[in-house]
């Protein structure tokens, strides 16, 4: 399994499959290309959010890297996005908690996580997360 990403449009359509050569089983490295695609789709008005896959099964949860990246991208774009994480058998949707609505010490960035039914692009995201699979 290799972590894989997807930029998702407002109609839940796939906009860009993120399958960099340097991805690993547990990480998608920083990517200037991905930022360029996110910015372009934001400027087109087509950007809803970003999905990425995690290894294994069960309800996935975001890493510290995930959450700080969510927040950095939203800061750059000036808008909140939808963030999905898939495992082999679950999908969660994360959205930022509005500023001022939480006061947990030590948490700069807080996101609600909800288990949802698999969006239509889920099967392909899981397939592309397998080694040697191509778009």
């Amino acid at each position: 399994m290799l972590e894989t990403g997807l930029i998702v449009g407002h109609h839940d359509e796939p906009l860009y499959w993120h399958v960099p050569n340097d991805r690993t089983v547990v990480s998608l490295p920083d990517s200037e290309t991905l930022w360029g695609k996110l910015w372009a789709h934001f400027k087109y008005g087509s950007l809803k959010g970003f999905a990425h896959s995690h290894p294994g099964s069960g309800i996935p949860s975001p890493s510290h890297t995930d959450v700080t990246t969510f927040a950095a991208i939203e800061t750059g774009l000036g808008v909140p996005l939808d963030w999905w994480i898939t495992s082999q058998d679950h999908v969660v949707l994360l959205r930022r908690v509005p500023p001022g609505s939480h006061n947990t010490p030590g948490f700069q960035h807080a996101y609600f996580s909800t288990v949802i039914e698999a969006p239509p692009w889920t099967e392909k995201l899981r397939r592309l997360s397998e080694p040697n699979e191509e778009i």
Binding site: E3, S27, H54, S63, H64, D66, T69, T75
Partner: protein, 90 residues
């Protein structure tokens, strides 16, 4: 602009702009973030509204050496890694 200087481009809050003055191309990431934070805070980046709470701690800097058609360029953008990337938390 001198050969050892660079233009700084910033993306913040859905807007994009350049610092008014060039900076040393060899400046550290921390120095660049500090100058950009000050500029965005006081509203001196054309195209980017003044924001007193501007925070670039989770942004990264892409460095592009000069070409025949473009001077040295530094781009400050949000980071984009996901997963278990090892980070030093200070």
């Amino acid at each position: 602009m001198n050969d050892n200087e660079a233009k700084v481009n910033v993306t913040f809050s859905g807007a994009n702009g350049d610092l008014l003055e060039p900076v040393p191309f060899s400046a550290t990431d921390a120095e660049i973030k500090s100058w950009v934070t000050e500029a965005v805070t006081n509203g001196s980046v054309p195209g980017i509204p003044a924001t007193s709470t501007a925070d670039f701690s989770d942004f990264v800097i892409d460095r592009f050496a000069a070409t025949e058609i473009r001077p040295n360029l530094l781009i400050l953008r949000p980071k984009t890694p996901f997963g278990q990337v090892f980070e030093i938390i200070r």
